[in-house]
Each structure stands twice: as C-alpha cells, then as structure tokens.
Symmetry: D2
C-alpha cells in the first residue's frame, strides 16, 4: 500500500533553498512540510524574508546555518551557486510579483525552481519566465498542489481512458469566505498582498484560487479553454481586485462547455474547491475538503464512491498513495507528492538518467493560468464578452 | 407538531377537475396525490386525455362518474359551469402549449385554476393569461412546488429577517440526466413534448427546470433578475431545444449577482436542484434531494444544520410541517402544501372571508418565468450578451 | 415510474373507522394522511377520543357525520357492524394498552384491523390477540411503517437473492432525544403514556422504537433473534421505563450476530433509525432520515449508492415507488404504502379473490416484537444474561 | 494558523532509532513519515527486520549509515548507548510480542521509547513494562494516534469544559473489512501476525483496533470502563482470534454506559472508527475517515459542524493544527502530532526544563488497553458475563 512515492531511496536528499516563507507566512510552512514528508529534501539555505530581522529569526528557527541565511535572493543565488554543496533546487514562496525575478536568477544560476502559483503577477512576466526556463535547461515545477491528490490523478486517468465518454461539461467552483470583510485594511498579511495589484497582479480571487480551479479542470480533462465570458466583481468596498467571479467557458478541441465560480466572500466556505466533469457516458465529482473520495456516476447505473486506497482506485492513484483506504491523506500529502515527484525529476537530472513521465505542472501551465487571468479581466471589462485566451 | 395545514376543517372539500394527467402521464398523478394528502379536495371531473379511450379508462380508474369524464376541456368547462355541484377549481397538467387556452376557458367560466409550470409556451400567451386572470377575479396558482418545502419557507424567512445581511450571491443549479440520450426519438412521452418547440415553447431545459431554479431563487431572496447572460446548448444531436444552459445573473434592486446552471444531460444527477444564497453576514444552502435540511453558515461561526421540525426551524416552516423532525417529508408533501394553501384561498373565496396571506406562486410569477426563458434565448442568440428581462 | 400502488382502481374506496387519533394526537393524523395519499380509503367513522368533547370536535374537524362519531370503540363496533354501509376496516391508534381490547371487538364484529405498534402492552395480550385474529378470519396489519420504504424493500430483496452472501452481522440503532428531559412530568401527552407502564407496558424505548428496529432487522434479513443480552436503563430521574437500551443479539438459523441500540435521551438524534447488514459477500446501510438512499458495499468493489427510482433499484422497490428518483419520498409515503397494500388485501377479501402476496407485518410479527420486549426486560433484570426469545 | 506544533525550533532534531519497520511493513513507514513531517527527528539507526537481508536493504533505502543498521534490537541498544551521538529515542513498530522485550532493553539503556499499540501481547508483560518505565525515568509514548487529531482534542476539551453536561452514553465503533476473507492463509504479512496468538496476544480485532476505540473513548471523556460484557467471535473459519466483537460497557465514576463494536469482517468498512458521546446537555460525533469535522449537537438547538481550523475550534485543537480550515489534514498529521509532542517532551528532558503538559498516551494507558483486552476475552468465555477490568 505504501507507494513508491515514499520509498524512493532518500540517501541523497535534494539540497533545497527557500525564498520567502519567513515567520508569519502561510504557504512557506506548507512547502517545508511538503518537502519533509517523504524525506527527499534537506532545507539548507534561505532568503526567508525581506525584513532582515525576520529572515534571521526564521532561519534560526528552521535550523539553517547562519551563513546560509541570506538577505536577498540575488545574494543567495550567487553564493549558493559558488558552493560545492550549494542548493540544487529552490522553492519560491513569495508574493506573486517576486516569482519572476527570483526564478530568473536561480534558473540562470543553474538551480531548479519549485514555484508557488500563480506563475507571476503579469502575463508579460509569465512569457519571459517561460522563455527563461526553456533556455536554462533547468526544471521548473509550479505547485498547483491540488493536482497531487490521488483521487484527482484517478479522475484524470478515468477521463483519459474514456470512462466518461466524450467530455461535454466541466463545472468547477472554488468558494472561500476569508475575505468577506475588509481584513486587508487591518494589516492582515495574507490579505494585504493578495488584494494589492502591485504585488498580486491583475487578478484577485481569479489569480489566487481561480487559477487553481482552471488548472485542475484542465489537468483532469486534458482540455484547454478556448474562450471565456467573465463577470468579475469586488463585493467589499474599497477592494481593488475581484473577490468574486462568474466565468463561462468554451473548451478547445471538442464541444465541452463549463463554468467556474470563484469567491472569497461566500460565508461558510472555507476552501470549497469542487470539480465535476460530465461526459456522454458518465460523470465524476470531487470535493477538495473530502479529497479521499471520488464519485463516479456512470450513466444508467448506481453512483459509485471510489476511495483513495480502495478497490476502485487505479494505477495513477496508487502511485501517489501512502497509506491504506480509510486512513485519510490530506492537503499536505498532495502537496508533498509534487515535491516527491519533483525530487524524482531532480535526481534523474543529477545522474543523467531519463526524466520520469510525471504529470507535474510546468511553466507553460503557469502561462496558461496567466492567460486565464488576463482573459477574465479583459472579458469582464468588455461586459462579459466572449474572449479568446490566445488573444490576450 | 402537526400543523394547521393538515387540520383545516375539510368537511367541505374543494370540488376539483383535472385537464390532462391520463394514464402514462407523470405530473398528473403527482397533482392528484398532492390534492389528496391533506384531504381538502375531491376529484370529481376530468378531461384527462386528448385520446378518448385513454380519457375514459383513466377516468374509470380514478372513480370519476362517467358523465363527468369529458372529451375536451372546453366541454368540461361549459358543462361543469352549468352544474350546481360543478367544479370549483381545475388542475391543468398538460404540455405547456395547452396551459393558456385551457386556463382561459375555465377562468372565464368562473373556475379557479391550479396550473403546472412553466406558465405557457410563449411570453405572449403568458401576458394574455395574466390579463385574463386579473380580469376574471378567479384564483390562479402556479405549481412551483419546490417553494412548498418547509426549509425553503424557512430560508425565505431568514433572508427576510436579515439573518444573512445584504444578499450578494445567488448560486442555483438544477442538473438532471434523463435526457442524456435522445430518448425523444424513441417515442418516450415525457421527452417528446418537452423537446418539441411546438408544445414546450422556446425553452427546453430552461423552461422545464430552469424556471423552477429561477423561481426558487427569487422566492427565497425576494430578488428579481435585472439582466442575464446565457449560453444555451443542445448536446444531444438533433435535439431542437436546449438541454444545458449556463446563465449569469445580475439582480435588480441591490448588488447581488449569481449563476444558474441547468442541465438534462449530466450523468449521475437525478433531480439535482440546489440553491445557495450568500449575504454579507451569512449563507444558506439547500439541496432538493435532501429537503429536510437547511445549512445556515453565519460568517465566523460554525455551520448549523437546521432541520424541518427541529429546534432551529421558525414559524414559516412550522406552518407547513406535518410531522416531527427526523420523519422525512418529501416532494409530494411540498406539492401538497401548495394544494392545501390553494384550498385555504378557495375556501376564503367561497365564504367571502379575507384571503389568507400565503406565498403561493401567481400568474405574475409565471410571467416572470417566461421572461426568464425569453431572455435566456435572446442572450444566447446574441452570443451571451447581457439582456434585460424587461426588454424581452 | 408511478407504480401500481397508486393506480389501483379506487372507485370503491375502503370504508375506514378510527379508534384514537383525536386532536393533539400525533400518530392518528399520520394514519389519516397515509390512508388518503393513494386514495384507497374513506374515513367514515371514529371513536377519536375517550374525552367526549374532544371526540366530537375532532370528528367535526375531520368531516365525519355526527352519528358516526362514537363515544367508545365498543359502541362503534356494534353500530357500524349493524350498518349496511358500515366500516370495513378500523385503524387503532391509541396508547398500547387499548390495542388488544379494541382490536378484539372489531375483529369479532367482522372488521379488518390496522393497528399501531407495539402490538399490545403485554405478551399475554399479544398471544390472545394473535389467537383472536387467527380465529376471526379477518385481516390484521401492524403498522411497522419503516418496512414500507422502497429502499427497505430493495434491501430485503437483495438479501433474499443472496447479494450479500451469508448474513453474519446485523447492526441496528434507533437513537432519539425527545425524552432527554423529564417532559412527562410537565404533562406532555406523547411522553406521558409512553413512560407509564400501565399504558405502555413493560418496555419504554424498547417498546416504542426498539420494536421498530428489531422488526426492520428481521424484515430485511429474514432472521429472527434466538437470544439476546440487554442492558436497559432510565437515565432521567424518576422515569419508570427504560429510555436507553444496549442489546446484543444472536440470530436463529444461522451464525449471525448483532446489536441494537435504542435511546430517547441522546441529544442531536431526532429519529435516528439506522440499519446495517453485513454478509460474507457484501453489506448494506440505510438511514431512515435519508430514506431514498441505500448503500450497497460489495466486498472488494467500490461502494454503490442505490437510489429509490434509480437504475439500481429492483422490482420490490419499484412496486412501492410513486415518483422518479431525485424526487424524494418520505415517511408518509412509506406509511401510505402499508395502507395501500392493506387496501389491496381488503379488496381481495371483498371480492373473494386470492390475497396478493405482500410483505405486510402481521399479528405474529407483533407477537415477536412483544417477545423481544419481554426478553430485553428479563435479560436486563438478570444482569444481561443471554435470554432466549422463545423462553419468555 | 500554523501552530506551535510545526514551528518549535528544530535546529537540534531528536536522534531516532527504529525497531521493525523494514520493507513490506505498514506501520513503520507511517512512523517515519510522522517523525519527518514537522522536522523534529532524524532517523539515524535501525534494527529494521529480523531478516538480515531485509534489514540491510531497508536501511540502505532509508539512508542509514551501514554501521548503524543492526541485526538485533539488543545489539542496537548496546551500541547506540555507547555512542556520543547515539539515539535519544527509539520507535518500536514490531508485532505486539516484541514490544515488551525491545522496550525493556532500550529503557534500561536510557533511551526514550515511542511504541506502537497495543502495549504488549499479554497483560503480564504490560504490567512489567509499566514498572520498567516507571523505574527507568525515561519517557514512554504509546502511539494511539487517533488521539492526535485536532477535532478529538477539541472534543476532549468540550467534555472537560462541561459543554455536554454529565456524560451518559459513549457509543464507539470500529468496523473494517480487510479480514473478511482468510488472507492470513495466503501469507499476507499484516494478517498473519495479527491473527496469530503467539505474536498478537489474546485479542484479535479487539487488540488491533478495539484498543484504539476504547482509548479514544477514554481520552475524550476522561472515563474508564468499570466493567464490560463482551461477545467475541471469529466469523472466518479457522481463524484463531476474534474478528468481530460486540461489547457493552459501564463506566466508572459516573453513570455512563456505552458500547463498542469492532469488526474486521464487515464489507464496505475501510477503517470506520467512529465515536459518539452524549451528555445531559449535548452530544458530539466524530468519524475518523472525515477527521476534520466534529458535530456538536446541543440539546434543543440546531446541530453545529465544527471544523479543524474553523471558528468553533478551541485552543486544544489550535495547538495541533497546521493549516487553515478547508485544507484537510489527515491520518499522518495526527500521527505526526504525537511525534512532535513527544519531541517537545524529549527536548525538555534534554535540557532539564519542566515537561510540558501534553495529553500523550502513556504506558499506563497501555496497561488499561491490555486490561480491556483481557476483560473482553474473560467475559466472552463466561457467556458475556459482566466483568470488571480491575479483576482481570
């Protein structure tokens, strides 16, 4: 039952650095737990905060050697590249606008990059980052962590194998409620940068969580949106970026349609990512808060509840399953799966072997996400006109 | 616990006739059970089918006197109006295109009308029917039966009392799967007329179930849509009317937005009507298949599950609750509530007393539903342009 | 989809009387709704209350002719038996201690009996009633209403067809919370008689709801308990009868074991009847509060959710299904199914045709229930010693 | 939101050894993931298997230095105790019968012990181990991992604070299905030792999972069972130990009663641990498979769903919560919480500071679990006679 994911030889863990993720941050701590769970990484360096005192205190708490706690990512990239035992990979867990410049210096220093989403704070940056990655020959992994869930992997396998027939409908939603009040005006750190166009980019909720929903829908179905019609809105007075979005979608290369609803102002929704996909022969339903379950609804038969680790789960799920059915895995495990798969890639590079075929989100998926944001903004400004994603 | 609804004196049940609902029909049998449950009606006459043999056999099965089984609704209206003991009310349960002409003759004959939805097969008919009703002085009840559920009544009360704050979001959906295959081509009776523009009108799924979703959203929130943007589609080859619709909404008289998704081709969805309403202070969620539960999600507090007959249910729910919490009531009970409330109105007319204040759907709600259909069709034809409901 | 149950010719409805069920009663109103739903009965006579004024007012409210509202069931039996158009059947909906004497006079007057559960207030009465029924040649139906649910009928069919393999485990529970406080001391009518040994019998919760749980388990599995070990308790000070019971069971004719937990003092449980049955090849789970669903869990395969009216439901369920899947039926529909099946039996007697083979609970099932109560009481008094049901 | 649990300074991780847990084992890998997640341990030594080749291969895979992969736990204890950088703690993850001898040598060598459950394979061993622990002055943590779940910590806090009133009922169950067939006869490793009295002890399912259920019930309520009546059974032919148990309980120091059902032969149950506790003022319900939710059912109020990381969760839960509500934590996180709390204890010992007050299961809880097993076996042999736990 314990899969390869957790038993890959870890006698040479990947030497990892981190940019961002100092005390008070949320996602940095998540990345560190994800990196630790399967034992494939050692965190050895960091530029953990732009505030020097916080950077130092954070590094000490994490047990970093003082000389590997850096004041800036530029310094970190330069000095680590010069060390024999320098970092092999870096996790970038800053606000969005730092992703591109930070990734650039590490890629150019020969360091693989694991980067939080959305890819950047502008589509222009995203395109340049993609070019930089392609030129660098380094690995770039975008942590669309929800694609690491075993039942999502199984859903993807089912669609690919035709269990649903031709896909016709993709219904995604991602409601939250943590921005229902103007907490960014009270200095709440997470809220402040996410509602600030300078740091977040043109998208508020659509960037923060809409890109997750869109990536997940694409990941499972293999479909890209051709065009969309969006109605973005800020329900909280004074908020500069959207905190709710209604989006209709038409997918390329087929006849599928769909919708995405994202909200950060819907009371009672903690983190309500949900995906439903329907084809001519059946449907699937998955809810992130209860991630060990996948409903399969074949047309004309009783609904079936497939469980992680259970009899109905296939190979793709099994490869990323750590413990038996009924012993729930969660958010951190799915996140850790991306890290573990990234480690497998990094090790392949290390010893020159062939890259394993793993469905990790790439920089190009990140560009797709930025196109999604740009198209949402453009459509909404044009009174929800249908807008092609390749035209933004 | 047993409410007034079931204990109103029924020593003078309402004399009821029925148009449509012969053998093989679905909704006619539902209306009859709904009329019987609380004991306020006696079915005494019918024009049950346009097929004379089926009409006769159906009437016999239902125990109607042979001389009160009519060959046409016109004949029925004329003869019943002439009887001392003629019907006081008629239930019209035919395909949509018959609603208007049938209702007209009964209203003009002085008979109250209980009519299935959608109101008519065209907005023009709907407007004329509304005029006819207003002129007639007779009662007209449109059986948007989902508004009879106790937890929907409670949701409406909560919104009205401000428990949710200002309403900002209305997310409704109504997926089914029974038309996932082209069963209308096999002669299936329910499917045949619902997919035929001549009998159904301009709307397929949006008429059959979209009007339910829209009515329910309006009923609970008290809001009407100002404009909408719709993307209608027929996924089944050769189908003339929409079997799936994605609709974005902007509501009048406030800042609320929303979406409605309706589908009859989404495998695994039997009758998935679901309503979520969010305000600045809290939200509610209700699922028709599990109608005895209402989630209330006050911002910043644990979710609460309010149950029909339970401690959290208020007056509006209690008035239409028959049995204690944990003893589930279902679809027929909600339907019966409309009939019982209609009986209370009819009796008030009978003895000249003041009409009770009951939230029964009216002919004007029916016109709103037809506007909704027309706006969906118009918007979809205009590539999902925002379309005002008062402009169709 | 609308089954035979609701379309049996009702041009000669069964003439029904009622004993008990006056204003303020709960179960009497339920019986009346159940009798009305499918249109097979006309309530024409009653001895609705032992309080003459309440009896008169109740009869008026129900539209009974004044001369058929009786002061006692003895009078009613005598006078109705003497009428040409006298009642064919009587519903007995009184406290338990009245069931036997009332049923006796009606049976001896040639009237079929529909009786609420538990059968009587003592095992001795139960045995005498069974003899009386057998001698009378009249029909006797015990309203273990939960056995009328379509998904329970389907569960029974699945067990009978071997879908679960050999049955090994039967886990039933029936928690409620309405007696968590000593409301019988405040004069609450339902609580008063149910906690009074003189009217209720030797069992409190085990009689009121434990017999339902036991009957349901037997109904679905076809198994009878051979012996049981029980721990009964009254958690509320001053209460004379059990309000909680833990019961271990060993079933006859096989190797199955099981437990029943019943409680009326478990906060948060409205009416939590739940049944789980496991065999060597699979299991089933059913929860009364959500009665339209039946889980089927075949060993080594994904769980399947069978729905009333859905693709997985078989013949036995279909026969008692009124409306399509996703349109929930509830408690009253299940209750009505017993009435409708009873009507089919009564009509068969009326015209001398063969009795249909319908799984209606009989007087002998009622005796089994009284044995269950007696064995629980005896075992508990003997410090939970295993006690044979055929030894009490 | 990220709690102290994950941010305790980890610059001096605890040096950890492991006994058992070689390739093919289940629970050893779980302990290692649990030890890694929060970064407070470094695994540096092991006696991973009694099979030398498997031990070596396992150690290499885990990156242990070859000279710290030992052939026996005795050798490991001796050699590690002699090293300056020897292990501070050892995880014992062998079959039950090895727990006592292995723990003894490490405790006597001055090494803290983290041990899987049940404590030993006999009550006698358990008592001797408790004495050994008490004499040793070393820490001993028993990994009843389910007590590490945040919502279980919250439940415990609620009971302690009186939110439920006086506890009257404790309903626990733990059904599984993985032993529904005689897989031990096919050589399945997990099944083989668990069904073998020599390695598992006198209890089968009651030892493997029954002790979890009993510990959890005690942990949440603070109540110990005074006596119990049990019916143990092996449904699978040829199985020597119980695979199903029905247990009735009476708790000490109060008036509470309860039941525990454990099964490993109930198809469809993967790992169905469920706990319900009812008091005079309210109840709670928790299901292990969905561990981020806790139902709170105050008498006479709507049910409330408290979520990990949500508004209703209190201090005790917050202390062991890593990520926000809606981002599910699972089995490994709960397990990791025990490890992280153990690390806090070990570090306190390391630097001589006061031991933090943490609710970790102790060796005495382990003795209680062994008493529970012994009492179940004794009662079942005495035809389910009530048996005191302090009399075995």
């Amino acid at each position: 039952m314990v899969s390869a994911a957790s038993t890959i030889a870890n006698n040479q863990p990947v030497r990892l650095g981190m940019v961002g993720g100092g005390q008070g941050a949320f996602i940095g701590a998540v990345h560190r737990m994800a990196a630790r769970l399967d034992g494939h990484y050692t965190l050895v360096a960091g530029a953990l905060s732009s505030d020097p005192e916080r950077a130092r205190a954070s590094a000490e708490e994490l047990g970093l050697a003082p000389d590997r706690s850096y004041g800036s990512y530029e310094e970190m990239a330069a000095k680590e590249a010069a060390r024999e035992d320098g970092i092999e990979a870096v996790s970038i867990v800053t606000p969005n606008h730092v992703h591109y410049p930070a990734a650039k210096v590490f890629l150019e220093a020969g360091v693989h990059v694991i980067c939080d989403k959305p890819l950047t704070s502008s589509l222009k940056d995203a395109r340049q980052l993609a070019e930089t990655v392609d030129k660098s020959g380094r690995l770039f992994v975008l942590t669309h962590n929800y694609s690491g869930y075993p039942m999502i992997r199984h859903a993807r396998q089912m669609v690919a194998e035709g269990a649903l027939g031709d896909i016709i409908l993709v219904q995604a939603e991602y409601p939250q409620d943590w921005l229902a009040e103007p907490i960014e005006q009270t200095g709440q750190k997470q809220a402040s940068w996410r509602t600030d166009p300078a740091r977040s980019g043109a998208g508020g909720a659509i960037g923060d969580i809409g890109t997750h929903a869109y990536q997940l829908a694409s990941f499972v179905t293999g479909l890209k949106a051709e065009s969309l019609a969006a109605d973005l809105h800020s329900f909280v007075d004074g908020r500069q970026l959207d905190d709710n979005a209604h989006i209709m979608l038409r997918f390329a290369g087929g006849r599928a349609k769909g919708t995405i609803w994202v909200s950060q102002v819907a009371p009672g929704n903690e983190n309500g990512l949900k995906l439903r996909v329907y084809g001519t022969k059946g449907g699937i339903e998955w809810v992130q808060a209860d991630p060990n379950y996948l409903w399969f609804t074949p047309l004309g038969e009783p609904r079936r509840l497939i469980t992680r680790g259970g009899a109905g789960a296939g190979d793709a799920a099994a490869r990323v399953t750590r413990i038996p059915g009924g012993h729930p895995e969660g958010y951190l495990e799915a996140f850790a799966t991306l890290y573990t798969e990234a480690a497998a890639m990094i090790r392949a590079r290390r010893d020159g072997s062939a890259l394993p075929d793993l469905p990790l989100p790439t920089v190009h998926d990140g560009v797709d996400g930025m196109r999604f944001i740009a198209a949402c903004v453009a459509s909404s400004r044009a009174d929800s006109a249908w807008t092609r994603l390749d035209a933004v």
